[in-house]
C-alpha cells in the first residue's frame, strides 16, 4: 500500500485536526484560516507532485491517482481555499467554533477529493458520506432557523438519496460480485449481466443517488432551499465543489464500470433527457427569483443540466468538456458568491432588488459579479463561453443536435435573469452612498476568480 498516493487527503485531515486544536489556543481566529489555506496549499503541492501520466493505484485498487483525479483534487482544493478566504469575514458571525468550521470544510474537501479518486463503490460511498456529513453540519452551522432548516432538508433528503444510492450499489454488487469498477466492467463485458433488468434498476438508482449530488432534475428539489438557507460561503462550496465531485464520481462510475457500448447508449440517453429538463427547469424558474442565492441555486441546477450534456456525449470530448466546464463554472460561481457574500454582509440582504446602484458603491465587486454572471451565461470573452462551446461541441459530435439546441436556447433564457442582476447593479441609483469595502482576502479571491 502506497500511502504516498494518499498524501493530499492525509495532509488535509491532519491540518483539519490541527485547526481544531489550534482553535483552543489561538485568539486571533484569522490564523486558523491561514493555517487551513496553508494546509490546502500543501495538499495541493502533494497532489501536483503526484501528477504523472498513466494511472497509479493503491489500497487494492481502490485509490486511483491519475490526471483526472488530480485535476479534481486541485479543483476542489482551489475551491476550498477560495471558500475559506471568502469566509474570513463571514465567520465573524459565529465567534465560536471557527476552528470547527474550517476543519469541517477541510474534511469535506478531503471527502470530495476522495470521491474523485476512488475506483470502488464502498470507498465512493464512504467518501461521499464523509463529504456529505461535513456539509450537513456546515449547512446548519449558523444555527438560525433558516440555516437549521436548510440543514435538516439537506440531511433528510441526502440520507434518503444515499439509501437509494446504496440500493443501486447493492444491485450492481449483487449482479457482478464485486465493488471494483474495473471488475464490474469486465463482468459486464463478459455478457450475462448485460441483459438483466436488475442492472438497469441498479443503474437508475445510481443515477438517482448521484443525481442528488449534482442537483439534476428530478433530484434537485433541495437545492434552492438549501442554497438559500446555508451560510453563503457554504452555498458557494456546495454549488461547485460538491457538484464537481459528483460529476467526477459519475464520470468514473459510468465511464469505467458501465462504459461498454451496449450500456452507454442507455445511460447517455437518460442523462441527455434529464440534462435537458434540468437546464430548462433551472433557468425558467430562476427567472422568477428575487433572492440572489436562490437564483444561483436554480442556476446551478441549470448548469448541472449543461454538464449532463457533456455526460450524454459519451467520449473523450465530452469528458474533457466536462472538466473544463466544471473548472470555469467553479471559478465563475465562486466569484459570484464571493461578491455576494461581501455585498450581502454589508447590506444584510440577499434580495436582488437591494443591489441597486451597487456598481457605484462597490465598483470592483460589481464588476467581478457582473463578469462572473456573464461567464455563467457563456458570453465571450468570459471563459464560460469556451466551456459551453466545448460541451456542445462534444454533443454535436455525438449527434445530439436537439440537445445542443435546447442547451443554447437555455443560455438565452439564462441571460435574462443574470443580466437582470447586472442591470440592477449598474443602472439603478444606489440606496446609500456608503461604499462597501472589500477586505484583502476578498480581493485575493476576486482576483483569482476573475481569471476565469
Amino acid at each position: 500500500m502506497n500511502f504516498w498516493l494518499l498524501s493530499p487527503e492525509l495532509s488535509l485531515c491532519a491540518v483539519a485536526l490541527l485547526v481544531v486544536m489550534l482553535d483552543l489556543f489561538v485568539k486571533e481566529k484569522n490564523v486558523l484560516a491561514f493555517v487551513s489555506i496553508a494546509g490546502l496549499i500543501v495538499s495541493a503541492i502533494f497532489a501536483i507532485g503526484l501528477w504523472a501520466p498513466g494511472q497509479h493505484t493503491s489500497f487494492a485498487g481502490m485509490l486511483l491517482v491519475d490526471q483526472f483525479s488530480i485535476f479534481f483534487k486541485c479543483l476542489i482544493l482551489g475551491i476550498a481555499a477560495l471558500v475559506i478566504l471568502a469566509s474570513m469575514e463571514y465567520v465573524k458571525k459565529f465567534s465560536r467554533f471557527q476552528g470547527e468550521y474550517y476543519a469541517l470544510v477541510l474534511m469535506s474537501a478531503g471527502g470530495l477529493m476522495l470521491m474523485a479518486s476512488t475506483g470502488e463503490l464502498v470507498s465512493i460511498y464512504i467518501s461521499l458520506e464523509l463529504a456529505s456529513i461535513s456539509l450537513y453540519a456546515l449547512v446548519s452551522f449558523l444555527r438560525d432557523p433558516k440555516s437549521s432548516e436548510a440543514g435538516l432538508k439537506y440531511l433528510i433528503l441526502g440520507a434518503i438519496s444515499s439509501a437509494v444510492l446504496l440500493m443501486g450499489m447493492a444491485f450492481v454488487f449483487g449482479l457482478t460480485g464485486t465493488t471494483h469498477l474495473e471488475e464490474i466492467a469486465s463482468v459486464i463485458a463478459s455478457g450475462q449481466v448485460l441483459r438483466a433488468p436488475a442492472l438497469l434498476l441498479g443503474l437508475i438508482l445510481l443515477i438517482a443517488g448521484f443525481g442528488f449530488k449534482i442537483a439534476a432534475v428530478p433530484f434537485q428539489m433541495w437545492v434552492p432551499d438549501v442554497y438559500e438557507g446555508a451560510p453563503t460561503p457554504i452555498t458557494a462550496y456546495l454549488s461547485v465543489a460538491s457538484k464537481a465531485a459528483g460529476f467526477a464520481v459519475i464520470l468514473r462510475v459510468f465511464y469505467i464500470a458501465f462504459g461498454s457500448d451496449m450500456l452507454s447508449g442507455n445511460w447517455a440517453m437518460i442523462f441527455a433527457v434529464l440534462g435537458a429538463i434540468s437546464m430548462t427547469l433551472g433557468n425558467v424558474v430562476a427567472i422568477s427569483q428575487s433572492n440572489i442565492k436562490r437564483m444561483l441555486g436554480y442556476s446551478s441546477i441549470a448548469h448541472a443540466g449543461y454538464i449532463m450534456v457533456g455526460l450524454a456525449a459519451v467520449g473523450f470530448l465530452g469528458r474533457s468538456g466536462i472538466l473544463f466546464f466544471l473548472a470555469t463554472y467553479a471559478l465563475a460561481n465562486i466569484g459570484a458568491f464571493v461578491s455576494i457574500i461581501t455585498i450581502s454582509n454589508k447590506i444584510n440582504s440577499d434580495e436582488i432588488g437591494d443591489y441597486t446602484g451597487m456598481a457605484r458603491r462597490a465598483p470592483v465587486l460589481s464588476l467581478v459579479l457582473a463578469f462572473c454572471l456573464i461567464s455563467l451565461i457563456g458570453i465571450p470573452p468570459a471563459a464560460g463561453f469556451i466551456a459551453k462551446f466545448y460541451i456542445f461541441n462534444a454533443a454535436i459530435q455525438s449527434g445530439l443536435l436537439w440537445l445542443v439546441i435546447i442547451g443554447v436556447l437555455n443560455s438565452v433564457i439564462s441571460a435574462y435573469y443574470y443580466l437582470r442582476v447586472v442591470k440592477v447593479m449598474y443602472i439603478g441609483a444606489p440606496a446609500s452612498d456608503e461604499p462597501i469595502p472589500s477586505s484583502v482576502p476578498l480581493r485575493i479571491t476576486l482576483a483569482l476568480t476573475s481569471l476565469g
Binding site: 435538516l152 433528510i156 434518503i160 438497469l200 442507455n266 422568477s288
Partner: protein, 663 residues
C-alpha cells in the same frame, strides 16, 4: 469641337453651385449679389459653349465616356454625347436658365435665402444639362433624379410655408412613382439588350434592328414612359405640377415650364425608336398625351390663380408634345413611316414644340411673376387694369399668350400645328379632336387671363394673400429693367423661334432627313399667305388658327365685353365648374383616399399593428410564457422537504417507466 466642351458646359453650373454654397454662402453671406453674378457668368459661358456645340453639328455625334462601375462583365459607362437633339436642348436650357437668373436678380431681391436660391438654381441647371447630355440611360436616370432634387429644393424654397413644404414633398414623391417605372424600364431594357448596354444610341439601334423586341420592349418602353409621365406631369401623375407653383415664380418658369418638365418629352424623343418599335407603347404615349392635353386644359379654364392657369397650360402643352411623339411612333409601329423618317419627324415634331414652348411659357411665367411683383398676389380676381401700369409686361404677356394660343405668325403656331397635323395623320381620330378642342381651350383660358389681369379696373391686389412673394406693393408699377429685359429677350424668342422653320433651321436641324419634303416642307418655309393659299390642299393650320381665334373671341365675349355673364355660366354649369375647379377631385383621390385612407391608415397601419401586436406579440409572448411558467413551476417548491423526497422517488419510477417504454 473637342468633347471636353460638353464636360465644361456641365461643369460650369457645378462650379457655380460649389462656389456659392462652399465659398460665398459661408464667407460672403452679406454680399448676396455675388452669387447672382456667379451663376450668370457661368451660365453665359455655358450658353456660349452651347452655341459652339450647335455650330459643330456636322461633327455629331461627339461622345466622351468613362467607366463608372465595373463588376465582372457588368460595366456602367458614364458618358456625354452631343447630337442635334442635345444641341438644341443645350441652347434651351442654358439660354432660358440664363435669362431666368437675370430676372431673378430683380425678383428675388432682398430675400434672405438669396445664396441658397442661386446655389439650388445652379444645382438644377447642372443636373438638367447633365440630363440632356447623358449618353446612357443610367446617367439619364442619375440626372433625372438630380433635376427632381433641384425642383424639390426650389419648390420648397420658402420652406417655412407649410403649403410650399408640402408641395415640394408632393412633387418629389409623385415623380418618384414615375421614376420607379423608369428604373424598372432601364433594367428591363438593359437585360434584354444584347450585349447588355445602357447606351441610348445602342438601345435605339437594337430596337430598330429587332434585337430587343416583344413584350420586354413594350414593358421597358412603358417603364421609360412612366418616368416621363411623372416628370412631365402627364395624367395621372400631373397633380404635383400645379402645387409646385408654390415655388418662386422664376423657378416655376425655368423648371416647371421650360426645362425640367420637358425632360419627359425629351426622354421619349431620345428613345423614340424604342417606342416606335412597340405599337402599344407608342399608342399609350399618344393617348396619354392627347388626353392630358385636353384634361389639363379643361382645369385651366376655371382657375383663378394666374400661375395655376399657366401650370395647367404647361401640362396641357406637354401632353401635346407627347401626342406628337406618340402619334409619329404609332405611324412607325404600323409601318406608315420608316424608322428613319418617322423618328426624325417625330423628334422634330415633339421637340420643336418643346423648343418654342419653352420660350413663350417661360415668358408667361415671368410675366406672371412681374405682375405678382407689383400686386403681391397671383389671384386674378384681385388684379385688373394692369395694362396701364405695366405696359411692357402687358405687351410681352400678350405676345406670349398669342404664341401659346397658336396665332400666326408666332412660334406656337408653327410648332403646335405640326402636332395637330401629325395627330390627324397618324393617331386615332379622337386624339385629333382632343388636340383641336385643346387649341380652343388654350386660346380661351389665356385670354381669360389677359382680360382679367390687364383689362378692366384694378381690383386692388390683396395684402396678406397667402401666395404673395414677400414684397412691398402699393399701387402697381412696372417691374425693374432687370426683370423686363429677360422677358423682352424671351418675347423675341417667342416671336421668332417658330420662324426658324422657314429657313429650315429648327425643325430641319432636328429632322435632318429627306423625308421632310414629303410631309411638311410643302407648307413650311413659305410666307404668311402660303398658308392660306395652300389651305385647300392642307387646311389644318387654317382650321387650327380659326379655332384659336374662336377661343379668344369667346374669352373676349365673357370677360371683356361681358356679353355672357361668367357668373351665370358658372351657375348654369355648376357641377362641371365645381368638378373642374376641384381638379376632378384627383388630389382628394390621391391624398385622402389612396395615400391617407388606403395606405397610411389602411395598409401601413395594418402593418404597424401587425408589427406591434402580432410579431412583437409573439416575441413578448414567448418571453412572458417563459417567465410565467417559471413562476408556476416555482410553486412546486413548497418548502415541504417530504414533497421533495417524493419527487425524487417518483422520479426514479418515472425514469424507469419511460426508459422501459422507450426501449
Amino acid at each position: 469641337m473637342p468633347g471636353v466642351v460638353l464636360l465644361a458646359i456641365f461643369l460650369l453650373p457645378l462650379f457655380s453651385f460649389l462656389f456659392i454654397s462652399l465659398v460665398l454662402r459661408p464667407f460672403f453671406n452679406n454680399s448676396p449679389k455675388l452669387s447672382g453674378y456667379t451663376i450668370i457668368g457661368c451660365l453665359a459661358a455655358a450658353l456660349g459653349l452651347s452655341i459652339w456645340v450647335m455650330m459643330s453639328a456636322e461633327q455629331f455625334p461627339i461622345e466622351i465616356a468613362t467607366e463608372w462601375a465595373v463588376v465582372g462583365d457588368f460595366t456602367i459607362n458614364l458618358g456625354f454625347v452631343a447630337d442635334r437633339l442635345t444641341a438644341m436642348m443645350l441652347i434651351v436650357v442654358t439660354g432660358i436658365s440664363l435669362l431666368v437668373q437675370i430676372y431673378s436678380q430683380g425678383y428675388m431681391h432682398g430675400d434672405s435665402g438669396y445664396h441658397r436660391y442661386f446655389a439650388n438654381m445652379s444645382l438644377f441647371t447642372m443636373s438638367m444639362l447633365g440630363l440632356v447630355l447623358a449618353s446612357n440611360l443610367m446617367l439619364v436616370y442619375v440626372f433625372w433624379e438630380g433635376v427632381g432634387l433641384g425642383s424639390y429644393l426650389l419648390i420648397g424654397f420658402w420652406f417655412h410655408k407649410p403649403s410650399a413644404a408640402a408641395a415640394a414633398k408632393k412633387a418629389f414623391i409623385v415623380t418618384r412613382f414615375g421614376d420607379f417605372g423608369f428604373l424598372v424600364g432601364i433594367l428591363i431594357l438593359y437585360f434584354t439588350s444584347n450585349p447588355h448596354t445602357f447606351n441610348i444610341a445602342e438601345l435605339n439601334h437594337m430596337a430598330i434592328t429587332g434585337v430587343i423586341g416583344g413584350t420586354a420592349l413594350t414593358v421597358g418602353a412603358l417603364g421609360l414612359f412612366s418616368g416621363a409621365v411623372g416628370k412631365s406631369a402627364q395624367f395621372p401623375l400631373h397633380t404635383w405640377l400645379p402645387d409646385a407653383m408654390e415655388g418662386p415664380t422664376p423657378v416655376s418658369s425655368l423648371i416647371h415650364a421650360a426645362t425640367m418638365v420637358a425632360a419627359g418629352v425629351y426622354l421619349v424623343a431620345r428613345t423614340l425608336p424604342i417606342f416606335a418599335s412597340s405599337e402599344t407603347a407608342a399608342m399609350t404615349v399618344a393617348i396619354i398625351g392627347g388626353f392630358t392635353a385636353i384634361f389639363a386644359a379643361s382645369m385651366g379654364l376655371v382657375m383663378n390663380d394666374i400661375k395655376r392657369v399657366l401650370a395647367y397650360s404647361t401640362v396641357s402643352q406637354l401632353g401635346y408634345m407627347m401626342l406628337g411623339l406618340g402619334s409619329v411612333g404609332v405611324a412607325v409601329a404600323y409601318g406608315h413611316l420608316t424608322y428613319d423618317e418617322g423618328i426624325a419627324f417625330g423628334i422634330a415634331v415633339g421637340i420643336f414644340h418643346l423648343f418654342t414652348h419653352a420660350f413663350f411659357k417661360c415668358l408667361l411665367f415671368l410675366g406672371a411673376g412681374s405682375v405678382n411683383h407689383s400686386t403681391g398676389t397671383f389671384d386674378m380676381r384681385f388684379m385688373g387694369g394692369l395694362r396701364k401700369y405695366m405696359p411692357w409686361t402687358f405687351g410681352l404677356f400678350l405676345l406670349g399668350s398669342l404664341s401659346l394660343a397658336g396665332i400666326w405668325p408666332l412660334a406656337g403656331f408653327w410648332s403646335k400645328d405640326m402636332i395637330v397635323l401629325s395627330a390627324w395623320e397618324h393617331a386615332p381620330q379622337i386624339l385629333f379632336w382632343f388636340a383641336l378642342i385643346t387649341v380652343f381651350m388654350t386660346a380661351f383660358y389665356m385670354f381669360r387671363v389677359i382680360f382679367m389681369t390687364f383689362f378692366g379696373e384694378y381690383r386692388g391686389g390683396e395684402p396678406g394673400h397667402g401666395h404673395g412673394d414677400e414684397h412691398d406693393h402699393g399701387t402697381p408699377h412696372e417691374s425693374p429693367l432687370v426683370m423686363v429685359f429677360p422677358m423682352f429677350m424671351l418675347g423675341i424668342m417667342a416671336l421668332v423661334s417658330g420662324w426658324s422653320i422657314w429657313w429650315g433651321g429648327g425643325a430641319k436641324f432636328l429632322g435632318e432627313g429627306e423625308y421632310y419634303h414629303l410631309h411638311a416642307a410643302h407648307w413650311h418655309g413659305h410666307g404668311f399667305f402660303d398658308v392660306f393659299t395652300h389651305a385647300g390642299q392642307d387646311p389644318m393650320p387654317l382650321i387650327a388658327l380659326l379655332v384659336a381665334l374662336g377661343g379668344i373671341f369667346l374669352a373676349y365675349a365673357i370677360y371683356q365685353a361681358k356679353w355672357i355673364s361668367a357668373e351665370a355660366l358658372g351657375r348654369a354649369f355648376k357641377p362641371v365648374h365645381t368638378l373642374l375647379s376641384r381638379k376632378y377631385y384627383m388630389d382628394e383621390l390621391y391624398e385622402d383616399i389612396i395615400v391617407r385612407g388606403l395606405l397610411q391608415n389602411g395598409l401601413f397601419r395594418l402593418v404597424e399593428l401587425m408589427d406591434k401586436y402580432v410579431v412583437e406579440g409573439v416575441v413578448n409572448g414567448v418571453g412572458k410564457l417563459t417567465t410565467f411558467s417559471g413562476s408556476i413551476i416555482r410553486r412546486a417548491q413548497t418548502g415541504q422537504l417530504q414533497l421533495y423526497g417524493m419527487v425524487m422517488a417518483l422520479g426514479v419510477v418515472v425514469i424507469m417507466a419511460v426508459f422501459l417504454a422507450w426501449k
